[in-house]
């Protein structure tokens, strides 16, 4: 923790002594209020608490006309640590603009799997809603450490591509447990400034499916937290498709993912997720919105494990400025857990203040 603060201090010193425009430092953070009512519990069904969210230091600098650096350092609540907070390097990358709109990027990035992971990162002030889609907790490999080839705004349809080769889902930021790199291929088009339509394919080979690495974003289904995990090898395929439209009045985002895992033990498992967001802007600063968030993990999946969840949300976002907003959501969720073959249902109410500076 002290080491992390030292790194942040050095960056701030560097910023104060550098030319204003060569180093740009921004900060982002959020705080929540959460209310949860478990409809299946008869005793103590209600939780109500405030939450201090992630706080994010974002650094952008360029060394010359072609080479730039981007870093994102986050401090978040972490159970089990002495101070209950831990720091992490979420992004640290060097970018080389080698030809027109084509770049090579090296370092830790957000895997360009879909629109949300490519656009929103850790700054909640940019999120159209309070939380990420459920698929981010179970299917989407959030980060990758490796090499990225990127092109953007090419041609009439503003075609963009990303090809990433890097450490896999079970890797850390310092090592990987097998020779096979994780590979991502993604492309998108932007027919107008408000539209973005894209798709991607991600593949990784895990030699031990029980290992989930640092910052993979991956969790196993709640019913398997205490169970024995499958320790054999596993092939992980993820196909994603995004449609995003953010205009003056209407906002629409659909994220679909199809995940196939394969093991010699149980063969192919087919998993799906779909997240749909719609918002309608009233008088510039007011956006009521609705969300349908679905996740379905197959019974024979040996990585995430069988889990079905549906979340429905109604929300409202008020934008005080481009760097401060408040969101409120009320929702209903229903989960099916494999181990107990039981379902849980809950009602949630959340409020979030998200800010940047």
């Amino acid at each position: 923790m002290r080491h992390s603060f030292f790194i942040i201090f050095i960056f701030c010193c560097g910023y104060s002594f550098s030319q204003r425009e060569k180093v740009v430092v921004n900060g982002y953070g959020h705080m929540n209020y959460n209310y949860n009512n478990d409809l299946n519990k008869t005793a103590d069904p209600t939780l109500s608490y405030f939450e201090l969210g992630e706080h994010d230091l974002f650094v952008n600098s360029y060394f010359n006309d072609r080479i730039s650096f981007l870093g994102e350092f986050v401090v978040r609540y972490t159970k089990g640590t002495p101070t209950y907070f831990s720091a992490s390097i979420e992004r640290a990358r060097l970018k080389f603009d080698y030809y027109k709109n084509h770049s090579i990027i090296a370092g830790k990035i957000h895997t360009p799997i879909n629109y949300w992971n490519d656009v929103y990162h850790h700054g909640r002030v940019f999120f159209p809603s309070i939380d990420r889609p459920t698929a981010f907790s179970y299917l989407v490999p959030l980060h990758n450490l490796g090499l990225q080839f990127q092109g953007q705004n090419l041609g009439k349809w503003n075609f963009g591509y990303d090809v990433v080769i890097g450490n896999g889902i079970s890797a850390t930021d310092a090592s990987d447990d097998n020779l096979s790199p994780a590979t991502t291929v993604a492309f998108h088009i932007k027919p107008t400034d408000n539209w973005r339509i894209g798709a991607s394919y991600f593949y990784d080979y895990l030699s031990d499916a029980s290992v989930t690495g640092a910052h993979s974003g991956h969790s196993t289904a709640p019913s398997h937290i205490h169970g024995d995990k499958y320790k054999g090898n596993l092939n992980y395929h993820l196909i994603s498709q995004s449609i995003a439209y953010f205009g003056d009045k209407h906002e629409f985002l659909n994220e679909f993912s199809y995940n196939i895992t394969h093991t010699d033990t149980l063969g192919y498992a087919n998993n799906f997720s779909n997240y749909t967001y719609y918002g309608y802007r009233i008088k510039e600063k007011h956006v009521p919105y609705a969300i349908v968030d679905l996740l379905s993990i197959a019974e024979n999946d040996l990585f995430t494990y069988h889990y079905d969840i549906m979340r429905l949300w109604l929300g409202y976002r008020h934008e005080f400025s481009e760097t401060l907003n408040v969101k409120a959501q009320v929702g209903y969720s229903t989960n099916f857990l494999n181990s107990s073959h039981s379902s849980t249902n809950s009602i949630d109410f959340k409020v979030q203040f998200a800010y940047g500076f």
Binding site: V24, N64, R66, R93, V119, N153
Partner: protein, 141 residues
């Protein structure tokens, strides 16, 4: 009745000219960009961060008007078809994604001109009546 309609139409045309900004009201300026003229669509694309490098391999450095500048809202409407807040939001998001380097915000036409003059690759926009050496002016075709 017809006379009143004619007067009303003339009034509306006059006010739209008075309050609606066009590229003819502004000068686009650049430094060591390798271009002497651009279309309106190309100008907008450069200000929206769609190009990383000029043809001469200089990095594109976008210069915008800050909220202190009297031109902020008019330029936002002209280039981005949104408010100045919308422009800041657009650029914040683009920079946060890592898809563009941050623009520079200046408080006046004079500041924009001063910054462009000292920064190779910079592109800015100032009022047409603001005095500017012709070597920095990019013609709009």
């Amino acid at each position: 009745m017809v006379f009143r309609i004619v007067i009303l139409v003339q009034f509306l045309v006059f006010t739209s000219i008075l309050f609606g900004q066009t590229f003819s009201d502004y000068k686009v300026i650049g430094n060591t960009t390798g271009v002497t003229e651009l279309t309106q669509a190309q100008v907008k694309s450069y200000f929206k961060g769609k190009y990383t490098l000029w043809g001469n391999n200089k990095s594109v450095k976008v210069v915008l008007h800050s909220s202190e500048s009297p031109q902020a809202e008019k330029v936002a409407k002209l280039i981005f078809n949104t408010t100045h807040t919308g422009v800041k939001k657009y650029w914040l998001s683009l920079v946060f994604q890592g898809r563009a380097n941050p623009p520079v915000y200046c408080d006046s036409d004079l500041e924009v001109l001063t910054y462009v003059k000292k920064t190779p690759g910079a592109i800015g926009i100032i009022k047409d009546e603001t005095s500017c050496p012709s070597q920095y002016v990019i013609q709009i075709k």
